[in-house]
């Protein structure tokens, strides 16, 4: 069973400790949200999982193998990352952008073969971007652009997908669209780890929540287990009531 284990992970910038001796386990096949107050280290943890950052201590094991000791190209066939602020380069079409998702698989010159083209077209269709495939990426709306990035990650064909605050800067309708897309990816068999700000969205769309505070795991479990008034008080210093969302049946918080 493929799973991700974080063992005794510590990460610090010269001036500040971010993660201290953090251990957790993420099972395959679920959507896991990393939540916590600003500066709790959730994005840092995700970047360590994506080997963008190198932790000073501890290790992250995927199927028992330390990801920081693996060939980065090999690993990019297993884990995909959508950073918080990817740069959309000027003058490339949506289809070309999605084609970059084949970088870990295709040849090093970026030439796509028939299989690659098929996969790219599928990813475009899946994200409803087929009609936009020849448009300049910089001409897309925020929501479309985020979908294009998701399509790229889809074309990467990894079992694991890491999303760093994918809904930031999106209008609410695009946020919902994106979260539904995320769920669709999960139903396709992808394991998703996502950093989210909105706790209600996290409860509604994710199977498991990991709450971080000051670089440590505060709680881990299903939304029903984790999202309690006590935890909100402890972690976010927020007095709130937790009710059941009438539509999804998941916990939903109301601040007092």
């Amino acid at each position: 069973m493929a799973h991700l284990d974080v063992k005794n992970l510590s990460f610090r910038y010269p001036e500040k400790n971010i993660l201290t001796d953090l251990s957790l386990h993420i099972a395959q096949g679920k959507i896991t949200a990393l939540i916590g107050p600003n500066g709790c280290g959730k994005s840092t943890l995700l970047k360590c999982m994506a080997r963008v950052l190198m932790p000073q201590q501890g290790e992250i094991l995927l199927q028992g193998e330390n990801i920081h000791q693996q060939n980065t190209r090999q690993l990019s066939r297993k884990i995909a990352l959508l950073p918080q602020a990817p740069i959309s380069p000027e003058g490339i079409s949506v289809k070309e952008l999605v084609g970059y998702g084949r970088a870990p698989w295709g040849n090093r010159w970026g030439r796509l073969n028939n299989t690659d083209h098929l996969i790219v077209n599928e990813a475009l269709a899946y994200t409803n971007l087929t009609d936009y495939q020849n448009q300049d990426v910089s001409a897309l709306s925020g929501g479309q652009r985020q979908r294009a990035w998701i399509a790229m990650i889809l074309a990467q064909q990894t079992d694991w997908v890491l999303l760093d605050e994918p809904t930031t800067w999106l209008d609410i309708s695009y946020q919902v669209e994106l979260l539904n897309l995320m769920r669709k990816l999960n139903q396709q068999g992808k394991t998703i780890v996502v950093v989210l700000h909105d706790l209600n969205q996290a409860c509604r769309y994710c199977d498991e929540l990991i709450v971080l505070k000051a670089g440590k795991v505060q709680a881990q479990g299903t939304p029903e287990e984790v999202l309690t008034p006590y935890l909100l008080k402890e972690t976010f210093s927020l007095t709130a009531e937790v009710h059941t969302d009438p539509i999804s049946g998941t916990p939903c918080l109301f601040a007092k």
Binding site: K47, Q74, A85, P86, I87, P89, I92, Y100
Partner: protein
């Protein structure tokens, strides 16, 4: 919609290069040269025979290597500029603006004036490589590289300041050493007194640098999506930067060793090229090479006519062409994010 015209732009730029090359080989001479003599000269290179007239001999022995060097240096600096823009993700990056040229020139002058005696026995490209590498390290370090986040504006400021400082230092060295006019014109970027031996010194590096630049072009494309994205796609951002920097050093240092620092080519050509063929480095690299080679061929021709019959350093010609062109480009293009 994105439309691209590779089928038009590549033949056009090739014609521009070939025309510039041919005109520069025969034009601007006090001795009357004709294109037929260039043809004659080129044929005799393949099939040496005795009855070559004086004009053709002149072309073979003096003109041809000189224009080859001009074209080669143009290609090298243009590719170096494009590489630098890719690896720093800064549209203003270029060998001249980041002080790489000046660093190479400064260490070479230090070597030649006897300040760095241990280097004087070695080929001059070793000195220029050391200089180029040192200024590169300084610009990247002071430009924010230490904190893992390159700061575009700060890099340019550091580069310009460093370039000015090194140039002043180089001039001071030359004045103290009472060097001849020739070195001063080399410092402005010059093709005077370059010959076949210089070409033989240049082309292996040029070939190596170009091949490596082409090899890294797709990695630069991926790097343009941001460091985190690149790593996610299996392209190590640090390794790509290191290797691409090495290619920049090879290309710039080999050019400066022969012609001195020539400004504006590394900045202007990639911008023009991006405007024509777009931002895909796999296309951009060869296009920059052709465009840059053509530009310096034409500049060489101009350098003979500007103050005929005496010669203007080619670096001044590129600055004369490049300055206004760049102002025009900067005004008509919106700022782009690399």
């Amino acid at each position: 919609m994105i439309t691209r015209h590779y089928l038009v732009s590549f033949p056009l730029v090739s014609v521009w290069l070939v025309l510039g090359f041919a005109c520069a080989t025969v034009g601007g001479s006090t001795f009357d040269l004709r294109f037929s003599q260039l043809a004659e000269a080129l044929i005799s290179l393949w099939r040496p025979h005795a009855d070559v007239d004086l004009g053709s001999q002149l072309i073979i022995s003096i003109r041809l290597p000189r224009v080859l060097i001009a074209a080669g240096v143009g290609a090298a600096l243009a590719m170096a500029g494009a590489l630098m823009q890719g690896l720093t993700r800064n549209p203003l990056a270029s060998p001249a603006l980041f002080g790489i040229n000046a660093g190479a020139a400064c260490v070479l002058v230090m070597t030649q004036t006897g300040m760095l005696l241990f280097l004087s026995e070695l080929p001059s490209i070793i000195s220029t490589m050391i200089g180029a590498a040192l200024s590169g390290v300084v610009v990247l370090t002071l430009g924010g590289g230490l904190h893992g986040r390159l700061h575009p504006t700060r890099m340019v400021l550091v580069g310009v300041a460093l370039g000015a400082l090194l140039l002043a230092l180089t001039r001071a060295l030359l004045i103290l050493d009472e060097q001849s006019q020739l070195i001063l014109s080399w410092l402005a970027g010059s093709l005077m007194d370059t010959g076949w031996d210089h070409w033989h010194q240049l082309w292996p590096w040029l070939l190596l640098g170009s091949l490596m630049a082409f090899y890294f072009s797709q990695k630069l494309n991926v790097l343009a999506l941001g460091d985190e994205m690149a790593i996610g796609l299996g392209v190590s951002a640090i390794n790509t930067r290191l290797w691409a920097s090495l290619v920049v050093i090879v290309l710039t240092a080999s050019s400066v060793a022969v012609t001195g620092p020539i400004a504006f080519v590394g900045l202007l050509v990639p911008h023009l090229a991006r405007y024509v063929v777009g931002h895909d480095y796999r296309i951009l690299m060869p296009f920059c090479a052709l465009l840059g080679a053509g530009l310096l061929s034409w500049a060489d021709l101009l350098s003979r006519y500007l103050a005929f019959p005496s010669e203007t350093p080619i670096g001044l010609v590129t600055a004369l062409i490049g300055g206004p062109c760049f102002i025009w480009l900067a005004n008509r293009r919106k700022e782009y994010a690399l």
